[in-house]
Structures are given as C-alpha cells and as structure tokens.
C-alpha cells in the first residue's frame, strides 16, 4: 500500500501569530444568563481573546431621580428599594440618613442599632447572592443552592419585621417603620449562629478548589492607582489594596461603636476580591453579634413629630398629634433649605445621596451616586487580554445589580 510518493505525515507547526485574524464584534446580552439582569456588553474579539469590552446600560432605566422630584421624602423610599433590590435596607439607610442630615437630627441609640443590624443582614444576604451567582457563572452550581438557602433566612427576618422580603421600605426619615420584637431578636441570634458555620462552609467549597482558583487567580487584575483613577469603591477597591471603608473611616449611624476589621487584599484579581468579600461577611457577622447583644432599650424614633408620624394611639386622643399627622401626610416633612451629600457603605461600594432641598416637602434634586454604575467602567480594563469565558468571571466580581446601575 505504501508508496514512496506518499508524503511523510508531519504535524504542522502552528504559530498563532502567523494567522491573519479578523476582529469580531459581538454583543453579549442583554439577554444573557450571566449578565445578572439586562447588561449588554459590546465585545471586540480576536478569536477567543477580548480586545475591548464596553458595557452598554440603560435597559432598566426608570427615571427614579426625576420621579423622586415629584414625591415627598418618605415616598421616595419605595423607589429606592427598586434600585438595589438585593440590599434595599442599605439604600433605605443611605437616603434617610441624607434627609436626617438636612434636618440635623439623630436617632436614639435603639433606632441606630436596629438600622445597623438590618443593614448588616442585607449585606450578608447580598453577598450570599453575589457568591452564588458568581460561582455559578464560572461553573460551580452547588454554591448557588447553598447560598440561596441562607438568603431565605435573611429574608424571613425582613418579612417578620416589615412584611416584605425584598422591597422592604423599612426605614423612615427620622425613624423606623416599627420596632424589633423579641421574636425577631431570637431569629437574628439564630441567623448569626447559622451564618458563622455557613460562611466556613462556602469557604471550604471554594477557596482551595483548584477549578475555582484556575478560573479566578490572575483574572481581571487592577492596581490601586487604576482603582483611584476610575473611582472604584467598595469590595472591588479593597481587593486591590485600597484600605478604605466608610463604616470605619467616616462612621455613620452607630458604626463607630462596634469593633470590626476591614479586610484588604493586595492582589487585585477576581480571587482577591472573592477572599475580600468572604472576610467581609465574617466581619458583618461580628458586627451583628455585637449589635444584637448590646441592643439598647428605649425609643427608636426621633422625638419630633414634624419629622415622623406620631403613634396612632396618640393621634386618636390628642389634638396636636392629630394635626401633626395630617400635616405630615399631606405636606410631608420639610427639611430646611440647603444641599448635602451623604455617603454610606453599601455592599457594592460608596452609596452617596446628594439632596438639594428648597424648603418644601419634596426634594428639589436628588442624585444617587450608584456605586455599581461607576465600578462597571472598569469592566473593559479588567477583561482586556483575557478570554471570552473570563468576562463572566469579571461581571461576577463586579457584583452588578442592574436595577441600581440603571436607576
């Protein structure tokens, strides 16, 4: 069979650089399972390599800032729940603190503690969803099932305290919707004990997992200087070596009364940001534990019926309370003229509310500094030079919530 004319079989030596490849432009999303909503990414690809990635947003834009100008201060809160639907408590807190800063009032200790407790539970729930979705994006489906189990526990607490699971609208300007009862305290104590074990469980599932490490180490690298240039805040920045947490450095509510550490990682890749968030969950549990054990007694609302509704029993028998109730319902609370910017630490970065008040019951201008929208700018930088499959890892590490990005 063999003849001398048959050419010997040799493996052709392939040099990738010798191929002339065309740049391919591709859309990823808006309907893509790993874009966590309606994020569209314009990609320029050279084979599997990403040359350029540009996020296109706005598919969920509802004009919340414009709507807020037509609503009284307390009516803005339900809109904000629909911005960051994974950590609505933190958005509640950011807004009411901003308006309270305009009024120059502070809550009694019990109110402040309950707010901190609720925000830290929201942070844990939000990080649970981030972890589950992030791990699922890169192929580890198990984690998702575990984290969603714990998210349910957090949402049960929210449901118990305010009747809603996600869009809570729990906080009010000058106070809270209602008090925390003993049953809720028991639930939270149980939740703390559960979370302590479960965080270590996630840790065992992923941290030393070779597939997870392969998919995340060295991916999406950013330096601290690049973070500052792009104004990246929150866990994304702390994973790049920026030691800054508003809860510690510019404390609000009662955060200055708790002992906790701010985990900072220098590596700046997806894995470092993963470790950072896991550590942050541990610290959140630590804050929760201190807050629930030291929960003070006493009133939880400010003592000023020009800001917060008087109790219903009082309204029924007291003329003055009745008038306050009527005025607040019709006109809303009226902060003095002025403008303020109130930064708080949301699970995704610095959440800022800039409110300009003209002395009426509605904000003249309310601007939300939505952290993910600004963090999202780094997507192109993080994806550059990596493979297409790494784009989903980068989206995961940015912890995108499109309701918040799109306002």
């Amino acid at each position: 069979m063999t003849t001398a004319t048959t050419a010997p079989i040799t493996t052709p030596s392939v040099e990738m650089r010798e191929f002339q490849t065309d740049v391919m432009r591709m859309n990823m999303g808006p309907q893509h399972p790993s874009t966590h909503g309606v994020l569209r990414i314009k990609l320029e690809l050279d084979g599997e390599k990403v040359l350029k990635a540009e996020p296109m947003i706005g598919y969920l834009h509802r004009g919340i800032e414009k709507l807020a100008e037509t609503k009284r201060y307390n009516q803005v809160i339900p809109l904000l729940d629909r911005m960051d639907y994974l950590a609505a408590m933190c958005f509640n807190l950011g807004f009411v603190l901003a308006v309270e800063k305009l009024f120059d009032v502070q809550l009694p200790p019990r109110g402040q503690y309950i707010r901190v407790i609720m925000c830290e539970i929201a942070r844990l729930a939000s990080h649970c969803i981030w972890l589950g979705a992030h791990a699922m994006d890169v192929g580890a489906i198990t984690v998702f099932l575990y984290t969603f189990r714990e998210r349910e526990l957090a949402y049960d607490i929210f449901e118990h305290i305010c009747g809603q699971r996600m869009t809570v609208s729990y906080m009010r300007v000058g106070g809270l919707m209602n008090d925390m009862d003993d049953e809720c305290v028991t639930m939270i104590k149980k939740y703390i004990e559960t979370m302590k074990q479960r965080i270590e469980e996630y840790n065992r599932l992923l941290t030393k997992n070779p597939i997870w490490m392969d998919r995340t180490i060295g991916i999406g690298h950013m330096t601290a200087q690049e973070c500052m240039d792009m104004n990246i805040t929150g866990p994304c920045a702390r994973g790049c070596g920026i030691d800054w947490d508003l809860r510690r450095d510019q404390p609000y509510s009662a955060y200055d009364q708790f002992e906790f550490e701010v985990p900072v990682y220098q590596a700046g890749d997806v894995y470092a940001r993963y470790l950072q968030r896991i550590d942050e969950m541990r610290q959140s549990v630590r804050i929760l534990e201190q807050a629930i054990n030291r929960l003070p007694d006493g009133p939880f609302n400010v003592d000023n019926f020009k800001i917060i509704l008087p109790p219903k029993e009082l309204v029924k028998r007291d003329m003055e309370a009745m008038i306050h109730h009527f005025k607040l319902t019709i006109d809303g609370c009226k902060p003095p003229k002025g403008e303020i910017y109130m930064p708080t630490e949301s699970p995704r970065g610095e959440l800022g509310f800039y409110i300009q008040s003209d002395g009426s019951g509605k904000p003249y201008r309310m601007k939300v500094r939505n952290p993910t929208m600004i963090n999202l700018q780094s997507l192109g930088r993080m994806c550059q030079g990596h493979f297409l499959a790494d784009v989903v890892a980068v989206i995961g590490t940015l912890d995108v919530v499109l309701g918040e990005v799109d306002k």
Binding site: E65, N231, Y341, R369
Partner: protein, 162 residues
Amino acid sequence: MNVTIDHTGVTERLGQRYAVLGESFRGEQTYTVRKQDLLDILTALKNDAQLQFNYLVDITGTDTRPLNGAYTLCYHLLSHKNKLRIRLKVLLDPGDLTIESATSIWLGANFQEREIWDLVGIRFLNHPDLTRLYLPDDFTGHPLRKDYSPWAQDTDIEGFRG
C-alpha cells in the same frame, strides 16, 4: 509630615487662588469656582501632596434655573489621606452649556459625564465618547431639566402618551 488637613486647610491652600466663595452647611464645605478654572483646580487638588484628593466621588448636574438662572455642576471630592470631602460648584450659563471634561484627570468621570449629558444636557468638551448613557440614542430632550414634565400625557414620545 503626617499632617491632617481640615476645611480651613483647604481654604488656605486653595481659597485665595481660586475659590470665589466658600459656604458651609452641616459641616460640608462648598467652593464655587469659575468654569475656566475648574480643571486647574481639580488637578491641583489631586496632585497637592498635603491635600491628596484622590477620588472624584461624584458629579451632579442640576437645572437650577428657577433658583438662580443657571445650571449647576457639583463635583464631590474625597481625600482618603485626610478623610475629608469637599464640593466644587460650577455655575453654567444656560446659553453656553459646555464645560471641559474631567476625564483627562479621572477616567472614572466618563460615565458620570455621559449621564449628565443624557439627563441634564450639559456638554463636556474633549470627552472620549459623549453619547447618551441611559436613554436611547434617538431620544429627544433631557429629562432632568425642570421644564421637562415627568408625566406621560405631556410627552410626545410615540407609545408613551397616556
């Protein structure tokens, strides 16, 4: 060496040169600056060894025509070193709604300036890609202006009329 600077320090180091007027409300310091000085001031604040305002946290555009007949831009700066925040304010004449883009100093200003162009209609010169951020490209008008009605029956967008 490790001197912490507060608001008076900022005023001392910068106020005489640029700030037209400083006002304080609830512990927040506002400097109103002239449009043509803005980039110089931002650069100075960022690079000054003592001040080190390393974050341009937020840019807000507001239609303040009913209040003072101008548009207002607020730049919120943050210094990690001094744990200090200041606000720079620029008033823009409605007849000339342009200002130099801050993207040459902070890349992160990109989306925020696109957002302001989209919603308020202030044009940023020398911006790398000044297109609408949230709204579709064929959208007319800038919704956060005060003369733009928030109600559907007042808009003439097809399919949106109430």
